[in-house]
């Protein structure tokens, strides 16, 4: 086989040489900016398909041309291409200047490629050259702030967490707001995978299996013209990932290694008050509890001290006061009846539970090829140890991308990647026992120690505030998720006739997620059943078969291209679980040692059949038109509604090519494009339309069945209708930019609607209304300076997007539609409440309107907002108000949608040295702080610690201008209510990324035998500016903050070599 293959290859090479060996041209391709050679640039002969070479490491090349009339074309990604007539020359040097415009960049789009300058849809491309130094385990995190109209958010700073991407706002309420991911032309599995979110409440991002270093470009399809060819899954945008390919030329070896350290968080995060302040605050609560219930100060003082002693004596501290007042400073003394006297010493839980995070990556890639065979192979190891002691991620990944031309007509290719990643996660939700972050800010008093002061033994009881001694318990449990993913993707393309290409693609994407959760018999979660272990395997299978025929031909000035295709997709998830309790051995974490075991195994899935077509036409490369139609049938809907048709039309006009623009030489480019089209979104659940009886439980060791769904057979797609108008411009050969306006109406919105619980269910999936997303996206790039080797570029992007609920359908039998109240799903802790109301933003925070603190009493004030008047009401700021939230009406109190968001960047380079800065920002909108209620508690959770800001700002009889209410001993539940008290301005500006790099001089590099060598420093999240100071302002897409692990400041050092 191998020999035959080589022979064929040789044959072709010979043939090529014989055919074209008329004249040999030598030369060098250089960078116009600094005169250095450009390796890897393409040199081809115009009109002679296949006659092309690639420059060597110093930029030199040799090519054969048929005649003196030949024209050589020089191309390099990111540079303007150049054409040179051969004439009599035998040496041709070309200097290429970089094109910031990237106008003629060929980009990957739906079912093919397109030239940026002629593409009719709205799409953004990100070249990973720009992002490769960022210490991220997933490419998604590198997109923050880089693309207009695309909001990348990560609620958690945990290693391995799943970011969320919103393309042009929120078009859906149902779980399916994430874009569709397509790798090398084939849709793949994405999102949170496995079962760990049910156990440790950490997410496992299956896209972590894609090594960012293997990605060549990412294209984000934003409008219907770009994405409607993906039909029913594309309403929320499409992210196309293209992996690296080999280039013809000498084999290239690239090696990269980097080390990142995260010693601290990016911002303050609910910094707790000091020990003395904490003790004084608790003393106040106890004291107030007695005095407010009619007891004397002396009684209150005695009571408060007794309570303090009750709580902390056993941790080695005792308390006294000089006087009996509320404002006493409590004296903290050590107990003397134990092994140690802890007076004056406190335990630093922060230090014990967090560490300096380490990020490490090593990539090795070998690529190369000939005109007929190209290969790219890579191997990479990445390790990311989070700030939290038990949060580790590591990944091995390997990839081979191979393409081969066979004969005259056929081309075949295969992309295979294998990844094994392992993640140890940590509870990221509002969990008192297992969330370190919450524990150190809210639960673990510095008065608590991990050991008993009397015996020196580990302290195993729960601490007073429900916190657990995780210094000890972390030895008693274990969790691990191992993801093994294989994506194999094979294509065969036949270029049969002039312009007709048939392509068939078969792809198999398999992700096997193995979850392991173990609690020893000593762990608090394992005590009741003498230890437990869970082994789970979730195997996601996605099979895609796609057959397309593409015909394109130029008729004089008219270009035509037509695509038809047929596609099927099958998704099947296999699940198995084995659980054992009553474990036989305290060292072994195996189900086989268990006294009682249970297991489960079943599968679910969905499938889809699609037909697609697209027509593209252009006249004189000036007027462009395209149209597409796709028809999808999905098993997620009932036979009566399962087929949907999606279409788009688009056009563009290259205005500056018109005669009347000829004299306007300052305008390098002016292009108008517009599109309109439809897309769909399928329900998130596979079986929402079916009435099912499930057999997932047992009773008495026997099977048990339950009617498990309340079906809605009329369930339909969400359909979206998007319009897009854009103007692209280039001015003074220096500025380029795009102004883009879009409008997206989504109808038949899917939502799990609350229904009367008398039906047996709390909600059912229904098509309930219509939303609108509209906005403006701006992108401006400037080539500010390019002189004497000194180069300065800058770019800014901004998105102004509004998402509104337009219509809520009137339920049958009702006269008006119901507003829908819903809880923020992040963390599952209902930290914030939202309201869908016609005409209002999709992220309208709902709750009581807090009016601040009553100066005379220190109590909370709430505006009545129309609630029935009451004798205890009073006027506040000219409005009727009350101290009792139960007597007030809830209203819309804020909006989580920012007015604008985006990023800006600037790159400076001089000779080998370069400095790049990337900022991301958000302007306007509100952030709802669902965690501050815990650290700024009014006295309900007595044993919790409070933030320094509470101590500084609380109302006291001495400080009646305090902005936070009085600490009260009567269990006020005010902070737990959803109210504007927890609402803050969400604006922030963050220096997301700094890159300082130095290309070592060639002379030095050559000594170690390398072609290129580069050292760099990368800093992430180094600076943050925000009005909201309590915690990190960069939050998830619901604009709420909770107890998720915050982001850290990361310092990365790296080395790049290529040989």
């Amino acid at each position: 086989m191998n020999r035959k293959f080589t022979l064929i290859m040789l044959g072709f090479l010979l043939l090529a040489m014989v055919t074209y060996a008329q004249k040999s041209i030598k030369g060098k391709v250089t960078d116009a900016a600094n005169g250095t050679g450009i390796p890897g640039a393409g040199v081809s002969v115009k009109g002679q398909t296949g006659n092309a070479v690639v420059t060597n490491s110093d930029g030199s090349f040799t090519i054969n041309v048929p005649s003196n009339n030949s024209v050589l074309v020089f191309t390099y990604i990111g540079y303007s291409s150049k054409e040179v007539m051969v004439g009599g020359q035998s040496t041709i040097n070309a200097s290429l200047s970089s094109s910031n415009q990237q106008l003629d960049e060929v980009m990957v789009v739906a079912y093919g490629t397109a030239k940026r300058s002629t593409y009719t849809g709205a799409a953004a491309t990100i070249n990973t050259e720009k992002t490769k130094e960022m210490p991220v385990t997933t490419f998604q995190n590198a997109l923050v702030g880089r693309v207009s109209g695309v909001q990348v958010t990560n609620a958690s700073g945990q290693a391995g967490a799943t970011p969320s991407i919103r393309v042009r706002g929120t078009g859906s309420i149902n779980a399916s707001n994430e874009p569709l991911y397509v790798i090398d032309g084939v849709p793949v599995i994405s999102g949170n995978a496995g079962q760990m979110s049910d156990y440790t409440l950490a997410t496992v991002n299956v896209m972590n299996t894609i090594n960012p270093a293997d990605i060549e470009t990412i294209t984000i399809l934003k409008d219907a013209a770009a994405s409607s060819l993906y039909g029913s899954r594309a309403a929320n945008g499409v992210i196309l990932i293209t992996t690296k390919k080999g280039k013809a030329g000498e084999p290239k070896i690239e090696f990269r290694t980097s080390l990142g350290l995260t010693p601290s968080w990016a911002t303050d995060n609910y910094e707790p008050a000091g020990v003395q302040e904490q003790v004084d605050m608790l003393y106040r609560i106890f004291h107030d509890y007695r005095t407010s219930n009619g007891y004397t100060e002396t009684v209150a003082n005695t009571y408060a001290l007794t309570q303090l002693n009750n709580k902390f004596n056993r941790h080695g501290y005792k308390f006294s006061t000089d006087g009996t007042g509320l404002a006493e400073q409590v004296l903290i003394k050590g107990m003397t009846d134990g092994l140690e006297n802890r007076e004056g010493r406190y335990f630093d839980w922060n230090d014990a539970l967090f560490r300096t995070a380490q990020y490490q990556t090593n990539d090795l890639a070998v690529s190369g090829g000939t005109e007929t065979t190209k290969f790219y192979s890579s191997f990479s190891y990445t390790k990311d140890q989070g700030r939290v002691n038990i949060n580790d991620f590591d990944r091995f990944s390997g990839r081979i991308n191979l393409s081969q031309k066979i004969g005259k007509f056929l081309e075949a290719g295969t992309n295979v990647s294998f990844t094994r990643s392992s993640q140890t996660g940590f509870n990221d939700t509002r969990n008192t026992g297992a969330n370190y972050f919450m524990q150190t800010r809210n639960l673990l008093w510095p008065l608590y120690w991990p050991t008993d002061y009397k015996t020196g033994q580990p302290f195993t009881a729960r601490y007073g505030s429900l916190a657990q001694n995780n210094v000890y318990y972390d030895q008693q449990w274990d969790n691990q998720t191992i993801t093994k993913r294989i994506i194999a993707n094979q294509y065969l393309q036949a270029n049969i006739l002039d312009g007709l290409a048939l392509k068939t693609v078969l792809s198999y994407d398999n992700s096997q997620i193995t979850d392991h959760v173990y609690y020893s018999a000593l762990h608090y979660n394992g005590q009741v059943n003498s230890g437990s272990v869970n082994e789970m395997m979730t195997n996601y299978n996605k099979l895609v078969s796609s057959n397309t025929a593409n015909y394109s031909k130029q008729f004089g000035l008219n270009g035509l291209s037509f695509l038809v295709g047929f596609e099927t997709e099958k998704n099947l998830t296999d699940y198995q679980r084995a659980t054992g309790v009553d474990l036989g051995n305290s060292e072994l974490q195996s189900v086989s040692t268990a006294g009682t075991v249970s297991s489960n195994a079943y599968n679910w899935g969905n499938s889809m059949v699609s037909m697609l077509s697209r027509l593209e036409y252009n006249h004189n490369q000036r007027y462009f038109f395209s149209a597409s139609v796709r028809r999808d049938g999905s098993s997620k809907l009932s036979p009566s509604t399962r087929w949907g048709t999606f279409w788009s039309v688009a056009g563009s006009w290259k205005i500056n090519d018109e005669n009347f623009m000829k004299d306007l030489t300052v305008v390098d480019n002016l292009r108008l494009r517009a599109s309109y089209g439809t897309n769909g979104t399928l329900p998130g659940s596979d079986f929402g339309w079916r009435e099912l009886t499930s057999y997932a439980i047992k009773y008495f060791g026997q099977p048990a069945g339950l009617l498990s769904t309340l079906s809605n057979p009329g369930l339909n797609w969400e359909s979206s209708y998007s319009a897009n108008i854009a103007l692209e411009f280039g001015l003074f050969k220096r500025f380029t930019g795009t102004v883009e306006f879009f409008n997206r109406d989504t109808k038949n919105l899917l939502l799990g609607v609350p229904i009367s619980m008398t039906t047996g269910f709390g909600s059912t999936l229904r098509n309930i209304g219509e939303v609108n997303n509209r906005g403006i996206e701006l992108e401006l790039n400037a080539n500010i300076l390019n002189k004497n080797g000194f180069k300065w570029d800058a770019g800014i992007n901004a998105s102004f997007i509004k998402s509104k609920v337009m219509k809520l359908y009137v339920p049958e039998g009702a006269t008006k539609s119901n507003d829908i109240i819903w809880n923020d799903p992040t963390g599952g802790d209902a930290r914030a409440q939202f309201l869908y109301q016609e005409g209002k933003s999709m992220l309208s925070f709902y709750g009581f309107e807090w009016g601040g603190v009553q100066q005379t009493t220190g109590k909370n004030i709430y505006y009545k907002n129309g609630a029935d008047a009451d004798a205890k009401d009073f006027m506040h700021n000219g409005r009727l108000a009350t101290n009792d939230f139960n007597k007030a009406n809830r209203v819309i109190i804020g909006d989580g949608t920012p007015d604008a968001y985006g990023g800006f960047n600037t790159d400076l380079s001089y000779k080998g040295l370069s400095l790049g800065l990337v900022f991301n920002y958000k302007i306007g909108g509100d952030i709802y702080d669902g965690a501050y209620k815990d650290v700024a508690d009014d006295g309900y959770y007595w044993e919790r610690i409070r933030a320094q800001s509470v101590y500084d700002n609380m109302w006291t009889p001495e400080n009646t201008s305090g902005t936070l209410p009085k600490l009260d001993g009567n269990d006020l539940t005010d902070p737990m209510q959803h109210s504007s008290r927890q609402l803050h301005n969400a604006s922030f500006l963050r220096l997301k990324n700094v890159l300082l790099a130095y290309n070592l001089p060639k002379k030095i590099v050559a000594k170690i035998g390398a072609a290129n060598a580069r050292v760099y420093f990368n800093g992430t999240n180094l600076l943050t500016f925000s009005k909201y100071k309590e915690a990190d302002p960069e939050v998830g897409n619901y604009s709420t903050r909770g107890w998720e692990t915050p982001f850290g400041k990361t310092y990365t050092f790296g080395l790049d070599f290529s040989f």
């Binding site: 679910w604 009886t693 048990a704 269910f761």
Partner: protein, 494 residues
Amino acid sequence: MKNIKLILATVLLLSTVACKKFLDVTPSNSADANKAVQTPRDAQIIINGIMNQMTDASYYGRNFIMYADAKGGDMAVFSMGRGLDALYTFNHSVNNNNYSGFWSQIYFCILETNYLLEQIAKLEAAGATGFNISKGQALTARALMYFDLVRLYGKPYTQDKTSYGVPIVLTRLGFDAKPLRASVDDVYKQIVKDLTDAAPLLPKTRSDGYINYYANKAIAARVYLNMDDKPAALTAAKEVIAATGIYSLYTNANWVNSWSSQFGSESIFELKVNPLENDLGTGSLGVYQRNKGVGTTSALGFFYASTGFLSTLNAGGNTDIRRGIMARDETSASRLGSCYKYSGGIPDGNSSSSKMPGDKSTNNNTAVNIKVIRLSEMYLIAAEAALPTDALAAVGYLNAIRGRNPSLLPATVATINADMILEERSKELYGEGHRFFDMMRLNKSITYNDEFGGLTVSQRTKTIDRTFYKTILPISQGEINANPGIKAQQNPQY
């Protein structure tokens, strides 16, 4: 070229033909709901599902039992914020601590009974037979569920039977259904009808873990007692008591140990809790009644016996055998404030590493069956029901239980009274989910032992009676949001 065309055409054709089947996907653990019940065994499997769901934490698994004990005055909270203390403090509002889990979980269970009954009706209409037992069980279970719901959300029958009860749902509802509340009286009528319809269908043999004829009668006895229909309550209770072939009272010698085993001689209806099936672990009933830190650090010492209850139990020189299921609480080694009925007995130590006996000789000390109805209760119901008409019989029934404290003088026709029976119920059924409902139906006031934990409770007074509006739960905001018509039927003052 030709070949390729042919292949493509074939592929297209084949794919289109296979489309319909290709797009019909079901999960491998679920079946079409309208075809899932075909045989009596299928029906029994749905009954298994219903029994499983009755052991949910929001129902008999924990909260429903705790509801009546936390509110009944026999239990007290030592420190607030440990869990479920809103029950004790009556800190309920439409939005907060509304315990809507009762509403949603019980209606979910009702849906399952309705589903099964509909499927059986369909099959029986087509001539199938053999579904009597399942049908009787589903009807009886539904009656019990409505009985529980109406006591949580409606005023006691003896207080105002015309007031709002709960919506009566007897069929599968569509997602847009918005049923409104029926009167307490109507709900009780439906309960009695279901019980009456079910009785002849049920077997008179023991059926551990399931409802049989006597469970039906025992529930009926409870229901009639709540309706103050003493003759009917007596008849029903007597019928269960008479089934001596299958049920007998625990002797004083084996009363304590009865908690360490399942399906004892008194068990008329007992829900099975198996490890890894429906065991609630650290959230189980047993953990909520234990001393702090026993068996697990998650045992926070949620509820302890009130001082008043303990003095009743300790009366007569600490000889009451029922003290044997109580053990120390966190306040003192001598105060028997912790109850181990649902831990399967008292552990050998008093720390988180203590081994609980459990009732299944496994190490899962939280997988303890829920004893929904015991024979002792039938004696006490019979005593109460017989008292006005046949004091002598009442004395007989009461003394059978009262003898569990040998140093107490047996009741006589001269000394017996309703309070004596009520006190016996308190001692015998402590921790089993009765006290509050007893106090409400009998219009007694409840005085809480707030001084035990030094608590100041602002949501209620130290003593309450059934005129206090929070003795019934609010219809939750969630239900009102989805079913706006029910807002006008909200319980008064909420």
